[in-house]
C-alpha cells in the first residue's frame, strides 16, 4: 500500500509479506485518531460516520465551551509542573546512579522504577489515599506532582541512555587539559546528555498532558484535567464537539513529533 509506493528501499522488496502486514498495522494504528479527526468536521448535531456534511462549526464552538477550556488550562499547568519537577530530579538521579559509586545500586534501580512496575490504577489508589490524608486532593499542583512521580521512570530511561553513552575519556581529556571538575561538567558532560534531557522533557510534557487514570482518582469536578473532562463527557454524549476537542490532542501529538524530529531527531525518542 502506501508504504511500498514510497519506499524504493531493498527491505520492502525483500520482504513483501512482512511489508504488507506492516502497512496494515500502520492503518490500524492511525485509525482511531483519523476517525476522531474526520468526525470533528461533522456538520450535524450528532456523531455520524461518515458525516452528512462537513463544517468547522464545532471548532468554532470550542472557545465558548468553558468546561473544556478550563480543563485544558489545568492540563497545561499540571504537565508543565510535572516537567519542571521530573526533569531536574531525573537528571540528578541518573547522574548519581551512574557516575557515582553508590551502594545498593541494583536495589536503588528497582526502587526508582517502582512507578513503572506498580500498576497505574494502584498508583491512583495510593495517591488518592496519601494526598487525601495530607489534604492535597483537588489541587492542580498536586496533579502535577503526581504526574512527576508516575512518569519519572521515562525521564530516567531517557537520561540514563545519554549518561551511559558518554565516553569517560573525553571528560578525562578535559580534566588533563586543566578543566576543573565543575567546568568539566558544565562544558563537557552536560552538552552530551542534553539530547536525553530534551527528549525526556518532551516526554514528560506529553505524557503529563495525556495522563488519565491517576488524575481520575485525585481530581473532582472543577479541577478536572482535559482527559478526565473528556471521559466524563463522552459516555452518552453524541455531540461532535467532543471530537473537535479530542482532535486538539491528535494535533498536539503530531506537533510534538515534528518538534522532536527537528530538535533531537525521531531516532532519539527511541532511546527512552
Amino acid at each position: 500500500m502506501t508504504v511500498s509506493r514510497w519506499a524504493t528501499g531493498k527491505v520492502v522488496r525483500d520482504h513483501p509479506f512482512l511489508s504488507a502486514i506492516v502497512a496494515l498495522e500502520l492503518v490500524f494504528l492511525a485509525l482511531p485518531s483519523l476517525i476522531v479527526l474526520v468526525t470533528s468536521f461533522s456538520g450535524g448535531e450528532t456523531l455520524a460516520f461518515p458525516p452528512e456534511s462537513l463544517s468547522v462549526r464545532w471548532y468554532a464552538a470550542i472557545p465558548g465551551a468553558s468546561d473544556y477550556i478550563g480543563a485544558f488550562a489545568n492540563s497545561i499547568y499540571a504537565a508543565t509542573l510535572c516537567t519542571a519537577i521530573a526533569v531536574p530530579a531525573g537528571v540528578l538521579t541518573a547522574i548519581g546512579l551512574i557516575r557515582y559509586d553508590v551502594r545498593f545500586k541494583n536495589l536503588t534501580q528497582v526502587y526508582l522504577l517502582l512507578p513503572f512496575t506498580v500498576p497505574l490504577v494502584v498508583s491512583g489508589v495510593i495517591l488518592f489515599i496519601i494526598f487525601g490524608r495530607l489534604g492535597w486532593l483537588d489541587n492542580i499542583w498536586a496533579v502535577g506532582l503526581a504526574l512527576a512521580i508516575i512518569n519519572l521512570p521515562f525521564m530516567l530511561w531517557s537520561v540514563t541512555s545519554s549518561v551511559n553513552g558518554i565516553d569517560p575519556s573525553i571528560e578525562n581529556a578535559a580534566k588533563s587539559l586543566g578543566a576543573e571538575e565543575l567546568q568539566t561538567f558544565v562544558h563537557v558532560t552536560f552538552p552530551q546528555i542534553l539530547p536525553g534531557v530534551v527528549t525526556g522533557a518532551l516526554l514528560m510534557f506529553i505524557l503529563g498532558l495525556n495522563e488519565f487514570i491517576v488524575s481520575l482518582f485525585i481530581t473532582s469536578s472543577g479541577i478536572y484535567t482535559l482527559p478526565v473532562q473528556l471521559y466524563t463527557s463522552i459516555r452518552g454524549n453524541v455531540s461532535p464537539l467532543i471530537a473537535a476537542v479530542s482532535s486538539v490532542y491528535v494535533l498536539v501529538a503530531m506537533l510534538a513529533i515534528v518538534v522532536a524530529d527537528r530538535v533531537v531527531g525521531l531516532q532519539r525518542l527511541l532511546h527512552s
Binding site: 502486514i21 545519554s162 551511559n164
Partner: protein, 338 residues
C-alpha cells in the same frame, strides 16, 4: 563552545562584544569555583562520597510517595470497613477473605489476566515485523513514517483513542453503518471481549514496537547475510537468527504490554459497556462509589502481587531484557543507548 578557551589571536572585528561576554562567563565560573573551594573540600574530592547520594535524593523522595503508599495499602487491607466511618482501625482478615472468595472479583480478575495475555501475544507478534522494518529501512522517509506511525498514537493518549474506537465500534458506529449499508446485518462487537481486545491491542502495539526496536537494532546484519548465504530462506533466517537475538527486546515488550494492560481502565470502560470490566474498573468503583478503602486496598495489593510475581518469574527465567538503567546489567541499555 570550542572557542571559549581559545586565547589565540582573532579577527579584530569580532573581538569587542565576544570578549566581554567571555570575560563575564569566566568571572562567573571563577566565582563559582572560588565558592566551591570555600566549602569543605571533602564533599567533592572523591567519587565514593555523599554527593552521589545527594543526587539520588529528589528521585528517591518522589518515588517515596509510592513506596510509602504501598506500605499504607498493605496496612489498610487489614483494617475494618464501616459504611459510615469508612475505616475502623481494627485489624481483620475479612477483606482478604472477600477478595479471594468473591465470585465477581474472581471473574473480573481472570478476565483481566486472560485478555491481557491475549493482547500481549498480539502486540509482540505484530509489533515484531513493524519494529524489524523500522530498523532495517534504508530509506529515511520510510523509517520516519514508521516511527511517526508509532509516536502519533503513543502521544495521543488513552481517552482520545478509546473515543475513536467507540465511534468505530459503537452501536451506531462506523462498523455498523458499513454493515447495514452492505446489508450484512448488525455486527454486535460493542460491549464484547473482542471490542476490548481490539482497543487494547491498538493501545499497546506502540509500546511493544518501541521496546523491540532497540533490541533488533543491536543485531549485526552480517549474521542475517551469513544465514542467507548458507542457504537459509527468509523465514528461517527470521526464525533462527533474528528472533532469538531479539530475546531481550521480546521480554521487555511482553512485560511492558502485560503490566500496562492489566491496569487499564479506559478501554474496558468505553468499549466493554459495563460487561467487560477489568480490575481497574472494579477497584475504582469500590473505592469511589462505596468508599470501601480496605477492600480496594486488598484488591490493589493483590493486583500488584500477581503482576509482579509474573514479571519476576519472567525476569528470573528469561532475564531483565532491555529494562535496566545502568550498564553493569548483563543486557544493558535503558531502551538502547549506543
Amino acid at each position: 563552545m570550542a572557542s571559549e578557551y581559545d586565547d589565540g589571536p582573532r579577527g579584530d572585528a569580532s573581538r569587542g562584544w565576544d570578549d566581554r561576554w567571555l570575560r563575564l562567563k569566566w568571572r562567573v565560573m571563577d566565582g563559582v569555583l572560588e565558592l566551591k573551594g570555600a566549602l569543605p573540600s571533602g564533599l567533592f574530592r572523591s567519587r565514593r562520597n555523599g554527593l552521589g547520594y545527594a543526587f539520588l535524593l529528589p528521585g528517591v523522595v518522589l518515588v517515596g510517595f509510592l513506596f510509602a503508599g504501598m506500605v499504607l495499602l498493605l496496612q489498610y487491607s487489614f483494617l475494618t470497613y464501616d459504611p459510615y466511618e469508612f475505616i475502623i482501625y481494627e485489624y481483620t482478615l475479612e477483606n482478604w477473605v472477600e477478595a479471594l472468595t468473591n465470585d465477581a472479583f474472581r471473574t473480573v480478575f481472570l478476565r483481566t489476566l486472560k485478555l491481557s495475555l491475549v493482547v500481549t501475544v498480539l502486540s509482540v507478534v505484530f509489533g515484531f515485523p513493524y519494529a524489524y522494518l523500522t530498523v532495517r529501512a534504508e530509506s529515511e522517509l520510510l523509517r520516519k513514517s514508521l516511527l511517526a506511525g508509532v509516536f502519533v498514537p503513543f502521544f495521543t493518549g488513552t481517552i482520545v483513542r478509546a473515543y475513536g474506537w467507540l465511534i468505530i465500534l459503537g452501536k451506531r458506529g462506523l462498523v455498523n453503518s458499513v454493515a447495514t449499508g452492505l446489508g450484512t446485518g448488525r455486527v454486535d462487537v460493542f460491549g464484547t471481549e473482542t471490542a476490548v481486545v481490539i482497543g487494547l491491542f491498538q493501545l499497546m502495539l506502540p509500546f511493544a514496537i518501541l521496546m523491540l526496536v532497540p533490541a533488533i537494532r543491536t543485531i549485526d546484519r552480517s549474521l542475517e547475510r551469513a544465514a542467507v548465504s548458507l542457504g537459509a530462506d527468509r523465514l528461517r533466517t527470521f526464525r533462527y537468527v533474528v528472533v532469538p537475538l531479539s530475546k531481550p527486546g521480546i521480554t521487555a515488550a511482553s512485560i511492558v504490554v502485560f503490566t500496562i494492560s492489566m491496569a487499564n481502565f479506559a478501554i474496558p470502560w468505553f468499549l466493554g459497556a459495563g460487561t467487560v470490566d477489568f480490575m481497574a474498573n472494579f477497584i475504582h468503583s469500590i473505592l469511589l462509589r462505596s468508599s470501601n478503602y480496605p477492600l480496594a486496598s486488598a484488591l490493589s495489593v493483590a493486583l500488584v502481587m500477581v503482576t509482579s510475581t509474573i514479571v519476576l518469574a519472567v525476569f528470573y527465567f528469561v532475564g531483565a531484557g532491555t529494562m535496566g538503567l545502568t550498564v553493569e546489567e548483563d543486557t544493558i541499555q535503558g531502551g538502547g543507548g549506543q
